[in-house]
Symmetry: D2
Subunit: 347 residues, 4 copies
């Protein structure tokens, strides 16, 4: 297999680690650069002893300098950077001919106004929004194939959008009644020295946060609105729970009059029959994070609450894998004409 | 302080342990009997080494025989038994003059029909339903004072009912839009040798279960309907998360037209200004299980989602304490004219 | 009961929280001051929502200013400060007539040379060492009664010294063969924003650290040497494990020729027959942290390895309670003539 | 690559799951049979939803019938069965021409007497002991190549033997002073409905168990004795800690007079320079389970305690992978002439 020269920009956080975990053994990837301001000059296996003896363990972290990255021959760069920072380096690398798979929020929203509303500052690169593709492979495979700039979706959005899309497209639910409750592992909060993320603060703790207007709502509603062909506004309540990784989401919505469980099931099945990484559990089955951690799968089950005429969608994914690094690599595979599963078949 | 002679019937599960934890040091309690079919004949501190050197550590577990229990002079019995089993022994002990605080579901529902619908068998003692009091001290203090048979509320119901009641009573929300998502610690599933409750099955796992018709829905809707003065039907999605104890619940509902955040806040404050064990966090504050574990408090915060005109109620309690044993002892204190906090002030 | 006016200096870490947890309900304590540079000006229940509605929840954190502390009428001060810092404020408060219970390492060692060897800088107050009492209540009750300056022992030392002392005093083991392995909860590392203490770094992780010369070795060997009446040098290997609190220690040593299991058992029993907070589990029983967390107990079991003629001592305690705050309060009780258990009877 | 037809006998426990995890994607393996008395008749992905969409997810569990297994064309069988049970089926499958990699203890000991002493019943197949190879690939590569019956080592033994072997072979330590303390994840106790293994019993708990004569001591001492060329007897104290998987072991021993840190380092390095799955961390570095979970690596660091003239060996491995399934597959690779790392390169 032809190896694609690849860079990871911002490789010292949890998303960076997840990209490394897969790319270090991906049969079609040759890592040529890993960057980190904080760790520049250190070897990969010094920063991450877990990766000792891996193929590229002897790589040295470098500064996120576009010229330096381009000089390694990298054809593709994954960006695992804070929003705002990503846009700037994305532009510089695009100009140097690299393809970009950005895991930040910078290119996920089509509307600069919505970006500013949710992120609190003007969009840093509005001219690039046009060519960016919201890289949810289950619904944008064709666009991803030809994209130069992929905005890889957020973790919560993936877990909420994928179960809802077929129901909205088939007009099975009243979208004004959608309420999504998610529970996320602590890695979702990032790898930073913050008192509230200490072991003793998170262990034996569960709490909601970020209500009523978590930033991820913006991309969730964008994609749901496209599917419904009208404006969709939902309630979203994220929670932090004491697991390292994994997101489980329970989404409820009122069924349109006369809609049956069979119609829900068929909508899901026809949408995802060929999806490599969607596993439909069927009616009455709840998804469990422990079935998906360290895999690129999203599991989706559902139930009908006939007493209230609501559907309950229950999905689970690994926030770092299908919710971040794995999904980005899935797009990478599509961009390069590989089987989507290349390098991602771990159990 | 006059010590009340007290029995715990079914003291070898997690709820029994929680009752023991508090009653062993309660200044107004003298434990005279602890029963357990499985552990009969063993000393308390042999079964629960944690309680070694406690005041009643030398008590011996006995069979749950009503005559035996009555012969110890017990005036009150806490029942921590499976539903169905509790009703039978409750009757026998009532006949022998004991007051009963039942932590099972047997006397929580006023309607035998609803009981049969949710529990799958006819109610075992319909004649006793009349005199049973649903022992939520924050709303039934007067009835609890004079009760001989208390049906202590379930863990999920407590976390859902208390935040909602003031809103329903003041007609601030559209009750047909209520959706409650709860996350519970594993102790809520009981102390039984079940593969799905093993450490390795629960650790690093999160999942919904028991949808769409968890048994606790029946008492939740009963109490919400009383408060709303009409039939209330809600959606309830419980989840299991890897903590020993603690429940966090996020409940959403559509506000009635024109209702403001201030009205929500005032409704909560006027309802619970004098409640010893309700702590109102105010607007924008999420409750965290780690602030309430091993206490009898329920913490309640809220937020307004103005985009969807929903209120988000965020509550946390210890499922074993305010959700079970602690609440039962709170009723015990009220029944005997003690300060509600007696024996329950732990931090 | 007469309430003693009491200050906690350095009340915003995990040890401070543990002192608060008990002192907020201690029947003979009136908290007059809680200090914290970082939290000065904030209310106690703002910093620690867990303590809302507690007796002294409305106290405001102040700067650790000796005059300010003395002006509140405090008669006793608990110091939960970093070593080096504690000595300075201890002196100032002693001069103002307060009794001091110091939970840092500053006054634990009799020898300034050993202090400098293990802590890397000269001892900050050598003149006070004379009057300081190493406050292990099980062996220094008389000295504690009359002390003005208590050096409360460290968490690891308590778990290692108490099981070994009776064996050394009775000359039952060869002290040159002592090897102690401890496993500690993460709270032992303190409440500080440090990447290595994040939930995702500690959860699902176990590792040794601090070998071969952890600072606590100095006080361990000091006390073992006193008991053995000759210099004792041991190997000590601490480990970090993913629990909030609790230390379990396994200590092995070669038996002196002819020593029997009965002699071990008798030595332990005669040493601790009257000890309020030592629970002897007997031969063949291993101590478990979950039996002691949030209590002031240390549980001690043992086994004889006849194949190698070694004794295996297995102890468990809560590192924050018997290993820190609880033990300090035990000394406080002794100093003031209260029953040792006052305020410490939680299960 | 030629696919070897392979069976897993006893595939429904944690070791079975670990074998499945790797063998489902092993490029040289075709699974032809998976057996489980309890799950016979169910599909693999029904029993283990985690493996849905895997290559062999549609396999159906069958009874552990030797003829049935042989009839699938299986050339090799991994046995993940209780001791005693494994020996019987091993014989039946050997007679049918299969090679056996047994993960139980049945063929690990050369001496039937030692087996009986430690396992409490006569050895079930003494005639097969002769041809069994204790399959520690780092020291038995040549014998494994030609073996028909591999006794794959236990989890604790691997973590203790590998660090000690080079030191014993080079006569650097006094073997009579060896003390090994191990901490294991709960999966090591197996997947069985046992009250003591419940989440709430293990979480926030740490305890020693199985002292003084854990069954694994027998194989540990057998292998250490071979290396030392004399009888070695050690003390071994296993502990259970709340992680899913992972073992960390701290082993201490007195250095022979004049032995230096450099000699320790050189002994380790020359022993494991070419070992694919041993990672030497060097002096002063402690191994951490989180660096090795779900990999086949064992990490080994060490420190010299010059105050007591002891070496402290600190090793970490995944008890299910290098300590069980991974190591067995490593032997499988050697038996079939594959690179040892085939199918085992996960990070």
């Amino acid at each position: 297999m032809n190896r694609i020269k690849t860079a990871i920009v911002g490789a010292s956080g949890y998303t960076g680690m997840e990209l490394l975990r897969t790319l270090l053994t991906h049969p079609a990837v040759e890592l040529t650069a890993v960057t980190s301001r904080a760790e520049a000059g250190k070897r990969l296996d010094e920063v991450f002893p877990r990766f000792s003896k891996a193929r590229s363990a002897a790589l040295t972290f470098c500064e996120p300098d576009p010229d330096l990255i381009a000089s390694t021959g990298a054809e593709v760069a994954f960006l695992a950077l804070p929003h705002g920072v990503a846009a700037e380096i994305a532009r510089a690398l695009l100009e140097r001919g690299l393809k970009i798979i950005d895991l930040s929020a910078d290119f996920r929203l089509r509307s600069p106004q919505v970006y500013e509303e949710f992120y609190g500052h003007p969009h840093p690169a509005t001219d690039l929004l046009e060519e960016a593709v919201y890289g949810l492979p289950e619904i944008r495979e064709e666009q991803i194939k030809n994209a130069k700039l992929i905005a890889s979706p957020g973790c919560y959005p993936t877990s909420i959008i994928l179960p809802l899309l077929p129901l909205l497209r088939n007009d099975l639910i009243d979208h004004s009644t959608i309420v999504a409750n998610s529970m996320s592992g602590v890695s979702g909060a990032g790898r930073k020295a913050d008192l509230t993320l200490l072991f003793c603060e998170c262990n034996e703790s569960a709490r909601a946060y970020g209500v009523p207007k978590h930033r991820h709502l913006s991309e969730i509603e964008q994609e749901l609105s496209i599917a419904a062909a009208e404006n969709v506004t939902i309630s979203f309540i994220p929670h932090l729970i004491p697991v390292n990784s994994g997101i489980v989401t329970s989404t409820t919505a009122r069924l349109k009059p006369g809609v049956s469980a069979e119609q829900i099931e068929q909508a899901l099945e026809s949408a995802y029959a060929d999806a490599a990484f969607v596993r439909l559990l069927g009616r009455g089955k709840a998804a469990d994070t422990k079935m998906v951690t360290r895999t690129n799968f999203i599991d989706i089950g559902f139930e009908i609450d006939s007493r209230t005429n609501r559907v309950i969608l229950m999905s689970a994914e690994d926030n770092l894998c299908k919710g971040a690094g794995g999904q980005a690599i899935q797009s990478f595979n599509i961009m390069h004409g590989f089987d989507q599963r290349t390098g991602l078949e771990n159990w």
